[in-house]
Structure formats: structure tokens, C-alpha cells
């Protein structure tokens, strides 16, 4: 029954003091959480209000909490690597441990940090921006979250059980095949990604439908807020890209589990096919995560320049063309595979062409600020810092796209510095801006700006100190994924500088945690619902938004409809009367998404260990959950008018009390 387990230490990772420490602290944390929940009698609350919720606002908050935890894990991985590389000939980590750490760092940061943080912001903002009561498929939305969550947990469990994957974040075969990687780490990789990948794909479907079908009356496509446009282009990209990932992982699984030969060295397998496939997903994936960041910058820059976004049509066109072109650049990740000059020239040009719409977007943001009035709030600071950072990152991107020059950059620290510059400078800065921007809307209280500015400066200075030296190291021949290097190479001093920068960013993260904790304690209530003097519909309702979001459907006339409404009010114009309140149709909570994802976790864990006795019943459990859902007819209810009235009056009273 336990098949491939010969001893206790095959199951639990033992013998490493650092991992032992993690095991102990995880156990203590679980005991503490259980203790607190029991003492304060919060189990029922947790179950009713969170684990079974289908409310997009709560799902969004859960995504964000999970992604911040993952940011911590991925960040600790990063700092361990930087510690190891700070000095030449360092013996802090051994090779195997280092290989695991850079693998989990990459997977976690992209798939279990950036993606869920992005989905969290989708959930928080999109329905509110388009005047909807929820997403199109609230049940599926909750299911997506729990699949992501349990997929991520399955992946993370490999740290203490079975051993982490160690073949790089994209797990190139044949290194990731059974012949070269017999442990279970790679199985955790496959199933962690597969299970959360189903969730990602479902979220993509959900938001495409939500945006296309659930906009408030009057909001034509070309009147949508720019963030909503960015979510639409990102989700359309998900629809086309994620199935490729699912198939690629499935083929790799067949190789490992059933002895197929899709990507093996022997029996006619072709590992290079995997590299093509994974990048056909992997390159669009980069744009999937960066497009919503572009959307956030567009919202923030207009709000805090007190000016309409410049070049709306250009912005939309640029975003859609980036989404389309992202599918035609994948081979630039392996110019050095020797596909010949024709192929390389084609992919070099398609890659650099993407710089054109991206450049246009930068100009449009700049000219939104031009002749505006810029307020240096934390969301705006991240946006301003993004611009030069992304310009330099874009420039090194164009340099990398020049195929013959890439022969010298590929696999070097130059490449590492480039993609961290666009992923931190673009994606992380963007999501931080979004998080700060929508925080008052999510929770109804403001974050402390002073601590936020400390975090901002630490992150920013830390970023340049960390990654600028890496460009130089790359040009000096230092390749990625080296766990150690000789003193003679002369790479020591710059690596030390880089490590210092990494720790500055780490301190920046601690400031953010402090900022959140401090702000929860002080709890500066946002009574207006329009904390930043915003422009789009989400700011027209109280913070946090009531369960039903909008008491009556908003009637949209303009881009930045809420801003225009405020202008009209200021001019003393009369607004059209609001329609009478009517009962609001809402989805009921459901335990099925949580339970079904637990079964998926069981199935994944069973398949990881080759334990069919565990995998098959779990998959049956998944099927039963689907059946149960199919025959659930009582899945909705109406919020009565009285209750809506009470909620709205309470919000109005709160507002009136302070103004």
C-alpha cells in the first residue's frame, strides 16, 4: 500500500536543520490557529463567512491573503539564494538544496503569488467597476479559488514531505523525467500546477463572461474602465494559453507515471518539444500577469493626476495587440537551440514589435500626468516608480530580443536581471499599487501612508541595488542557477551588493506587514466610500461594498462615470432619480467548492506517491461533488427590500456623521 516508501525519511524530509525548523514552525502555527479558532469559538464563523462563501469580495480577499503568504515563502527562497551567493565558495547551502530553492522560488512567485494576487484584484475590482452584483459564475469563482489554494498547498507540502522539485521553474525534460529525477518532487510540481491551473482557466472564463455580459446598462465596451479592459485582454490570453500548460503537464505526467516517451531521451522522445510547448504557455503567461498591472497603472495615474486617462482608444488597441502578439514570440526563449536564421529572425522581430504598443502606453501615462495635478499617495508612488523601471527593463528586453546578441545574454545573469526588472518593476509594483489603491474599498479603512512610503523607498532602492549589478555579472559571464562560484571569477563584490539590495526589499516587505498590522489597529475608517476621490463606479458605493454591491443598477453615460457624476453634482445639476429598490437576486453559499478541492488535493497527493488507493477514491469524491452540484436547485435567494434599505441608510448615516 505504501509502495515506494521504504523508510520514514522517504516521506518526511529529514536531516536538514533548516527544514526541521520549518516543520516545527508550521506545526506550531497550525496548533496556534486551531487554538485561537477554538478558544474564540470562530470555527462556525470561518466556515459560514469564508470557507463556503461565493461572494467575489470575500474570494478576492482570500486570494490576496494567500498570495501575500506565498510572497513571504517565495521571498524567503530568494533571500536564501542571495545569502548563498553573497560570497564566493560559500557553503551555506549545498547544490541540491540550492536547486530546490530556485525552482520553488520561480514557481511560487509566478504561479502562486503573482497569479492569485492578480485574481484577487480582479475579484475585488471588476464587478464593482462594471456595476455588477457578482461575477457571472459565483460558484465557479469560489471553486477556482479553492483549486488554486489546494494546488498551492500541494506544491508547498513538498518542502517537508517527499522533497521539493529541483529541475527549474519550467521543469525542462529530460532533467524532469523519471530517469534523471526519480524522486516525488517533480510529481508535486506537476499536480500542484495542474490543480491550480484548472482554477486559473475557470477564472479566465468567468471574467470574460462577467465583463462581456454583466456590465451596467449604458456601459458599452469603449466606456469600460481601463482596468476592466486589461482584465478582459488578460483573461482572453488565459483562455488560449492555459490549456497548453495543462496538456504539457499531462504529457509529462504520462511520461513519469505510465512510462510514455513524449519528452524522454530514449525511445524517440523529444525534450525540445516540451520546451516549445511550455513557452507557448510561458510567454503569454508573462503578459497575462503584466496586462492587469498596466490596467491598474491606468486607473491610478488618472485618479491621482485628477485628469482623464490620455488616449483611451490607443490604450485599448495597444493592450489587445500585446495580448495577440504574445502568442507569437515564444521561441525567443531559446534562440540558442539552433533553429536556424529564418526562425530566429522571425521571432526576434515579433518580440521587439511588442515594444511598440508598450512604448505607446508609457507615453499615454506620461501625458495623463502632463497638465494634471499629481498627488504623491502610495498607489501613485508605485506607479511613478514603475515608469523608469519598466523603460529600462523594456530596453534590456529589446536587447535580449536581438537573436545573435542573445547568444551572449542567454542563461546569464543579464537575463535574470531583465526579467526581474519587468516582473518586479511591472507586475509587483503594479499589484502593490492596486492593493494600496483598492485597500480602503476592500476593508473600509485606510492604510497608513507614512509606513507605506518607507516600504516604497526600501523596495525601490533595494530593487536597483539588487538587480543592476546582475546585469554587469551577466555580461561578465556569470550564468544563472549556479549554486557557487570561484573566488577567482571576481564576481564576489557585485554579488554582495546584490544581496544587500535583496535584503533591503525584504525589509520593505516587513514594513508592508507592519503597515497593515498598524493600520488594522488604528482602523482609520473610510466613511465616504470614495477614499481617493476616484473616477470609476467602485467609488460610488460605500466601503466596504455591501453584499449586493449596488442597491440599484447604475446607469452609465461616460467613461469615468462616477467622476462625471460628481462634476454634475458640483455644478448643481440634478441627477436623474434612482429607480425604486427591488429585491436583489443573490447566489447562496456552497460548501462544494471547498470539499471538491480537498478531494482534488487527495487525488493529487495520491498520484504524487503513486498511491492509487488514495487517488481513485478522491477522484470519485470529485465526481460526486460535481453530481451533487448538478442536482442542487436551491442555490439562490433574494435580499428583501427592507434589508437593502437598512444597509443603505446605515451607510448614508456613516457618511453624514462625518461630512
Amino acid at each position: 500500500m505504501w509502495g515506494n516508501l521504504e523508510s520514514f525519511s522517504d516521506f518526511f524530509v529529514t536531516g536538514d536543520p533548516m527544514i526541521l525548523g520549518a516543520q516545527v514552525s508550521i506545526a506550531l502555527a497550525i496548533i496556534a490557529i486551531v487554538f485561537v479558532l477554538t478558544v474564540f469559538k470562530k470555527w462556525g464563523w470561518l466556515w459560514r463567512e469564508w470557507l463556503t462563501t461565493v461572494d467575489h469580495k470575500r474570494v478576492g480577499i482570500m486570494y490576496i491573503i494567500a498570495s501575500i503568504l506565498m510572497l513571504f515563502r517565495g521571498g524567503v527562497d530568494a533571500l536564501l539564494m542571495r545569502l548563498q551567493l553573497a560570497m564566493p565558495d560559500s557553503e551555506f547551502l549545498h547544490a541540491e538544496h540550492y536547486n530546490q530553492i530556485f525552482t520553488t522560488h520561480g514557481v511560487i512567485m509566478i504561479l502562486f503569488m503573482a497569479m492569485p494576487l492578480m485574481f484577487g484584484l480582479f475579484n475585488i475590482a471588476v464587478p464593482l467597476q462594471i456595476g455588477a452584483r457578482d461575477v457571472a459564475y459565483p460558484f465557479l469563482n469560489a471553486l477556482s479559488f479553492w483549486l488554486f489554494f489546494f494546488g498551492a498547498m500541494l506544491f508547498n507540502v513538498s518542502f517537508i514531505i517527499g522533497g521539493s522539485p529541483d529541475a527549474g521553474w519550467l521543469a525542462y525534460p529530460p532533467l524532469s523525467e523519471l530517469a534523471h529525477n526519480p524522486g516525488v518532487g517533480q510529481n508535486f510540481y506537476i499536480w500542484g500546477i495542474q490543480i491550480s491551473g484548472i482554477g486559473s482557466l475557470a477564472t479566465g472564463v468567468n471574467f470574460v463572461v462577467t465583463i462581456l455580459k454583466m456590465r451596467a446598462p449604458g456601459m458599452t465596451l469603449m466606456k469600460m474602465p481601463m482596468f476592466t479592459w486589461s482584465v478582459l485582454s488578460s483573461c482572453l490570453t488565459i483562455l488560449f494559453a492555459f490549456p497548453i500548460l495543462t496538456v504539457t503537464m499531462a504529457l509529462l505526467f504520462l511520461d513519469r507515471f505510465l512510462g510514455a516517451h513524449f519528452f524522454t531521451l530514449d525511445a524517440g522522445g523529444n525534450p525540445m518539444m516540451y520546451i516549445n510547448l511550455i513557452w507557448m504557455w510561458g510567454h503569454p503567461e508573462v503578459y497575462i500577469v503584466v496586462l492587469p498591472a498596466f490596467g491598474i497603472f491606468s486607473e491610478v495615474v488618472a485618479t491621482f493626476s485628477r485628469k482623464k486617462l490620455f488616449g483611451y482608444n490607443s490604450m485599448v488597441f495597444a493592450m489587445i495587440s500585446i495580448a495577440v502578439m504574445s502568442f507569437f514570440t515564444w521561441a525567443h526563449h531559446f534562440f540558442t537551440m539552433g533553429s536556424g536564421a529564418d526562425v530566429n529572425a522571425f521571432f526576434a522581430v515579433t518580440t521587439m514589435v511588442i515594444a511598440i504598443p508598450t512604448g505607446v502606453k508609457i507615453f499615454n501615462w506620461l501625458f495623463t500626468m502632463f497638465r494634471g495635478r499629481i498627488r504623491f499617495t502610495t498607489p501613485m508612488l508605485w506607479t511613478i516608480a514603475f515608469i523608469p523601471c519598466f523603460i529600462v527593463g523594456g530596453m534590456t528586453g529589446v536587447m535580449l530580443s536581438v537573436a545573435p546578441a542573445d547568444f551572449q545574454f542567454h542563461n546569464s545573469y543579464f537575463l535574470i536581471a531583465h526579467f526581474h526588472q519587468v516582473l518586479i518593476g511591472g507586475v509587483a509594483f503594479g499589484y502593490f499599487a492596486g492593493l494600496y489603491y483598492w485597500w480602503p474599498k476592500m476593508f473600509g479603512f485606510a492604510l497608513n501612508e507614512h509606513l507605506g512610503k518607507w516600504a516604497f523607498w526600501l523596495w525601490n532602492i533595494g530593487f536597483y541595488v539588487c538587480f543592476m549589478p546582475q546585469y554587469v555579472l551577466g555580461l561578465d559571464g556569470m550564468t544563472r542557477r549556479l549554486y557557487t562560484y570561484d573566488f577567482d571569477m571576481g564576481w564576489g563584490p557585485l554579488n554582495l551588493v546584490s544581496t544587500i539590495g535583496g535584503f533591503l526589499m525584504g525589509i520593505g516587505f516587513l514594513f508592508q506587514v507592519w503597515q497593515i498590522a498598524y493600520s488594522i489597529k488604528v482602523h482609520k475608517r473610510d466613511t465616504t466610500g470614495d477614499f481617493w476621490d476616484g473616477r470609476t463606479l467602485e467609488w460610488s458605493i460605500p466601503s466596504p461594498a455591501p453584499l449586493y454591491n449596488f442597491a440599484t443598477d447604475p446607469q452609465v453615460k461616460d467613461v469615468d462615470d462616477w467622476w462625471e457624476t460628481k462634476q454634475k453634482l458640483a455644478r448643481g445639476e440634478k441627477l436623474p432619480p434612482k429607480p425604486a429598490l427591488a429585491p436583489i437576486h443573490m447566489p447562496k453559499n456552497s460548501a462544494i467548492p471547498f470539499i471538491m478541492s480537498v478531494f482534488w488535493f487527495g487525488a493529487g497527493f495520491g498520484l504524487v506517491w503513486d498511491w492509487l488507493w488514495m487517488a481513485i477514491p478522491s477522484l470519485i469524491g470529485v465526481a460526486v461533488c460535481m453530481l451533487a452540484r448538478s442536482f442542487t436547485y436551491d442555490d439562490d435567494y433574494y435580499i428583501p427590500v427592507d434589508e437593502i434599505k437598512r444597509t443603505e441608510e446605515a451607510a448614508a448615516a456613516l457618511k453624514g456623521a462625518t461630512t
Partner: protein, 298 residues
């Protein structure tokens, strides 16, 4: 609130300016020190360095003014009492302006694209280098976790180091008998993957004698960091002398010896006075399942 804004502004100028200067300094310092890629010792590396400079300059022509423009806009239009700069809250479209900033990147990218395509064909790694000398063939096989180099003309083999004659084209044939790796000698020129079941060509040349750093650039497992090798370029005469000295070493590489060498482990520097004929082709063909049709009949 206003006080906070003023301190904020002071902070912004206090930090933003040094930050930008630091950024530029790092970028510039890159050009002055002897970084391998920017200090090439052969024609391929030199062309690639030129290409890197060309693209850097072309990009910088746009990027530097835009960064300065950003700083100016952010400063000029800050929200402060008595700021006399224009404020046009609804100005959000201007066709001429937008045509200009669609045009600028199109032109720059167009120029870079032309350079790129031209150089992509010129620097195609499998293309023989122009020279009046016959190229020297060296076959490189990446193993777990060492490099095997075989010299078919000289019938000698080395592990984790190579000697080459200067000023003569070297035709590297690259393959792998382990997870994919990448053959990279930065000062001679860019890298190409070593892949099992395939033989890739990479033409390089050293213009002056010296010892150059080479490494396996693509992660291939546990002790991948040990896959470094030195490339020593010498005069023809010294190269011939070196070949003679290797021919005089006691060990020959046998097929069994190769199997043992291919086992996953790091390896010290080794030399062999000979190797089994056709070893490299055997390694390449080891993973080929569908042999060409005519071979089936033989």
C-alpha cells in the same frame, strides 16, 4: 496633510535624483570594466559586442529622454498650492501627439529589426567563418556534470578543458549524453545548446593567445556548477606541441571508459591519448530511433 505632502516632495527629490544617477553609473560602469562579453577575443564575439552597443545606443536615444521627461512631468505637475502649471483635467486626446508616439517606437524598432535580421544571418552559428585556414573540428559532449572534448583529426580527447590554435576557425560540433546543456565561451562568442540525439555546429575563433573561461550555461542538474572549462588559445606551433604531449599521456579513452565517464558525477581535468573511432557519432545516434530508411535494409 499639506505638511506631509511637502516632506514627501522633499523626500522625492532627495532620493529620486541619486537613484537615477546611480542607475546611470551602473550602466556606464558596465562599459568601462573588462566584462567578458564586452571584451571579446574573436571575430564572433566582437560582432556580437558591436551589435549589443548598437542596440543599446538606439534604445537609449529614446529611453533617456523619456526618463528625463518623466522626471520633469512629475515635478512640474505636482499637486501643490500655487503651482502655476497648466491644468486641463479633460484633455485626453490629441491625434498628432499620438501619431508621434506611435511613430517613434515604430521607427526605432524598425531600425533595430533591420540590424537584427542582417546580423542573424551573418552570425548564424553554423555558418563557417571566413578564413584562409581550414577549420579545426572539436566535438564537445556535455555529460553529467563534465565536458568531454574529442579532436577527431588529432585523435585525442580531453575532459573539462580545451586547447585551440589562435587565428584559426574552430568548428565545434555539440551534442549531449545527458540533460541538455549549453556551450558558452563568452570571450569567443555566444552559446549554443548541446542536445542529445542532435549535433549542432558552432563556429568560433580566437584572435589572440590567452586563457578563456567557458561553462555549461544551461542548468542540467545537481552539480551543474562544476561544468566549467578553460579554453587555452596558443600559436599553431604550441598547439601542435600540446597535441604531441597529449598523445604521450598513458591513458586511452575506451568505450567502457566512456560509459564510466558518462555516469553522473563531477570530474577533474583529464586527458586521453586516443578515443574509440566514431565515438561522437555513436553518442549522437544513441537516441535516434527512426534511423534513415536505407539503413533498415542493410
Amino acid at each position: 496633510m499639506r505638511e506631509m505632502k511637502t516632506t514627501m516632495r522633499r523626500k522625492l527629490t532627495k532620493y529620486a535624483a541619486p537613484l537615477l544617477i546611480m542607475l546611470m553609473m551602473v550602466m556606464l560602469s558596465g562599459c568601462s570594466t573588462n566584462m567578458m562579453v564586452l571584451d571579446p577575443k574573436g571575430p564572433v564575439g566582437a560582432d556580437q559586442r558591436d551589435l549589443i552597443y548598437i542596440t543599446t545606443i538606439l534604445c537609449a536615444i529614446v529611453m533617456v529622454p523619456v526618463i528625463l521627461l518623466t522626471a520633469w512631468i512629475v515635478w512640474r505637475y505636482r499637486d501643490t498650492k500655487g503651482n502655476k502649471a497648466k491644468y486641463m483635467p479633460t484633455w485626453s486626446h490629441n491625434t498628432t501627439a499620438e501619431v508621434i508616439w506611435w511613430g517613434i517606437p515604430i521607427v526605432i524598432i524598425g531600425i533595430i529589426a533591420v540590424f537584427t535580421v542582417k546580423y542573424t544571418y551573418e552570425l548564424e552559428p553554423s555558418k563557417p567563418l571566413e578564413s584562409d585556414k581550414e577549420p579545426l573540428v572539436i566535438e564537445a559532449t556535455s555529460l553529467d556534470w563534465k565536458w568531454l572534448f574529442t579532436y577527431p583529426e588529432q585523435n585525442i580527447a580531453t575532459v573539462n578543458y580545451i586547447h585551440i590554435p589562435e587565428d584559426r576557425p574552430i568548428e565545434f560540433h555539440l551534442t549531449s549524453d545527458a540533460p541538455m546543456n549549453s556551450f558558452w565561451v563568452p570571450q569567443l562568442g555566444g552559446q549554443i545548446y548541446t542536445m542529445s540525439g542532435m549535433s549542432m555546429k558552432l563556429n568560433l575563433q580566437a584572435d589572440e593567445p590567452g586563457v578563456y573561461y567557458g561553462s555549461g550555461a544551461n542548468f542540467s542538474g545537481e552539480h551543474f556548477a562544476d561544468m566549467r572549462f578553460e579554453v587555452t588559445a596558443t600559436s599553431d606551433a604550441e598547439f601542435d606541441k600540446w597535441v604531441e604531449s597529449i598523445k604521450a599521456v598513458p591513458d586511452a579513452l575506451t568505450l567502457e571508459g566512456y560509459e564510466k565517464l558518462a555516469e553522473p558525477a563531477s570530474s577533474p581535468v583529464l586527458s586521453f591519448n586516443s578515443f574509440p573511432e566514431g565515438l561522437y557519432d555513436k553518442i549522437v545516434n544513441k537516441y535516434v530511433v527512426d534511423k534513415p530508411a536505407h539503413q533498415h535494409g542493410e
